[in-house]
Amino acid sequence: MVGIKTADELNKKFLREGMWPTIFCNGCGHGVVLEYTFWALEELGLDMDKVIFSSGIGCSSRLPGYINADGLHTTHGRAIAFATGIKAADPDFHVIVFTGDGDCAGIGGNHFIHAARRNIDMTVIMINNFIYGMTGGQLAPTAPLGSIATTAPYGNIEHPFDICNLACALGANYVARWGVSHPYQPIKSIKEGIQKKGFSLLEFLAPCPTAYGRRNKLGDIKKHWAWYDNNTILKEDLEKIMKYGTEQEKEQVKEKIPLGVFQDIQKPGFFEAYEKLVDRLKEKESKPKGAKK
């Protein structure tokens, strides 16, 4: 492989220098996801004029502003709707959507469902920090049971939203969930997601020490990052333990969040099907009327 080997060269290629350093808090996971995306784009060697980023509102949606490429900063929850428009206008573009958990699962839930159902060719990178961080720590639909937020001061009693399960059920082509503390698997996953024709969802569990960690007494940055290591488990390990493990082991892993690639299939995307439809109709049109087979 030729090209960039160090982070310094990577920054020069992909970063919009004047915007840096970021507005993110100390210990936030969003910058890490941005860096993984850079590495994945660098590995793929895509032309940055052919990549468009789209985002809604929230901490995660600041990310396209830091990238030296075209980007849209759109209304709350509608990032996927705008991305669908870009893709419809010119299917040659690679569309990458940065969205948060409140943006994608909460407010833009229906847009997400129908984009996944139609299998539109885009990569959705959902950065899940369990809370609406930018607006002051309101409860997000993905927050685990019992977590404390400004709108749930005595603990959350609503069951959390598993967005990866939803995407699998809707038949998205690529669904994966990763944490931010292990670099190699997420970079590979983002690469596969961008290459995949059809809808791909990548969920990242990003720490939010300011809004989530502080309220939930998860400690400082170090302890908060360690919480994500202790409370997640690889999907393959979970399956093995559920099959062969003892009762005690099963009890231990019950509360943990599974990580890994959940779905990797190859279904035709919406625009492929649409092209076929247009071709079929054109063929029909070119035949003279009344002619029989």
Binding site: A7, E35, Y184, K191
Partner: protein, 86 residues
Amino acid sequence: MIEVREDWCKGCNICIDRCPVDALEESDILNRRGIRPPKLKEKNDCNFCRLCELICPDLAITVFPDEKEKKPVKKTLLTPVGGKTK
């Protein structure tokens, strides 16, 4: 050898916490924000695994493999996906 962009560092100390060989520490100098950016210890076992570079939320760290100093270490992964390309 590592290079830290001091005005970009926010002082989360994740690099120090996560270093697998415990080669980093806080430096003595204060930057513009009033925090101490990381630096390599004087005696360190850094094998250029580049975890700190990949995990830094502010993209402030760059790792350069030292050409002069030869250490008896295993060959490390220099590309994020382990050098494998399809």
